[in-house]
Symmetry: C2
Subunit: 170 residues, 2 copies
């Protein structure tokens, strides 16, 4: 099965993100707004409990931390993806790095840019228009992150939560 | 915030349910296929951790159990809702009843009919057609339930998982 690891931010942030995703993100219905900690990886069902134990250990050894969003950004010209930029923090980077060690399947091959996607798969023109108009708006959030989730993907592309991990607890 | 409690069955069952929900259930995009254990209830954010402790206690005192699906059924004529009927079991009934005690907000006011909705809000004609054609198909599943989830509802009506509870563990 295909698994992934993500943080769901507070309802406030999710509601704001969804107000844009509804129009600009074809993945709107597949998963709530989230920060990906580990990209999709394949794991056999019978081995997932071992992975859960590994992840639980990482969660236990990571304290809850503060997450800030101050602005939007874009992955253009690589992809026409607009996102709420999550401020870099040592805690978030460490959590990401530990979840992408070799004993949890599949290391990320690109740099970790923590973000919450609000628009993707836009045409170049759409991207310019949407990014231009969104830049007038303020996106300011700060909140405490105390958990993250392991999810699996269904055949229709949507994601179901398998397990919740509490930071500092497991 | 509005919270609810549900079991997500295995990916196999969710994939089958979604193949029908895609066409026949307007809630398709709001939540994965599920068995509702506790209908939506309001709780203040600052009180939810107390509720989580209560629920965790119930989870810890409930052993994993076997769940069987043998056929489809319908809530017609009350509502034109078609569902996979989850066979009655003492464990499931007890879990439901304990999660609907008075110290967890809001008791259910109707009987517990465990089910996975695959079609709803159909017209009478649609309901007859769909139910008629689905009755030719076999729906046979049996699996072990070892967890359930506490979710909250976003402004767009979709649900995000807040916490996972493991049966026998909490």
């Amino acid at each position: 099965m295909k698994y992934g690891i993500a943080i769901f931010p507070s309802k406030d942030i999710q509601d704001v993100a969804n107000s844009y995703r509804m129009r600009y993100d074809p993945h709107y219905a597949l998963i709530p707004p989230h920060i990906t900690l580990k990209e999709a990886f394949e794991e056999e069902d019978e081995d997932i409990e071992k992975v859960v134990e590994e992840i639980s250990e990482v969660a236990k050894e990571t304290n809850p931390f503060s997450m800030a969003i101050r602005k939007l950004s874009t992955f253009s010209p690589v992809t026409n993806t607009i996102y709420m930029k999550v401020e870099a923090s040592e805690e978030l980077q460490n959590l990401h790095d530990r979840l992408n060690r070799t004993d949890i399947p599949k290391e990320d091959t690109f740099n970790f840019v923590p973000h919450i996607t609000i628009a993707q798969k836009l045409s170049d023109d759409e991207h310019s228009d949407v990014y231009g108009s969104l830049q007038m708006k303020s996106f300011e959030f700060e909140e405490r992150i105390d958990r993250f989730q392991l999810l699996y993907q269904l055949d229709n592309g949507s994601w179901t939560v398998y397990e919740t991990f509490r930071l500092g607890k497991g």
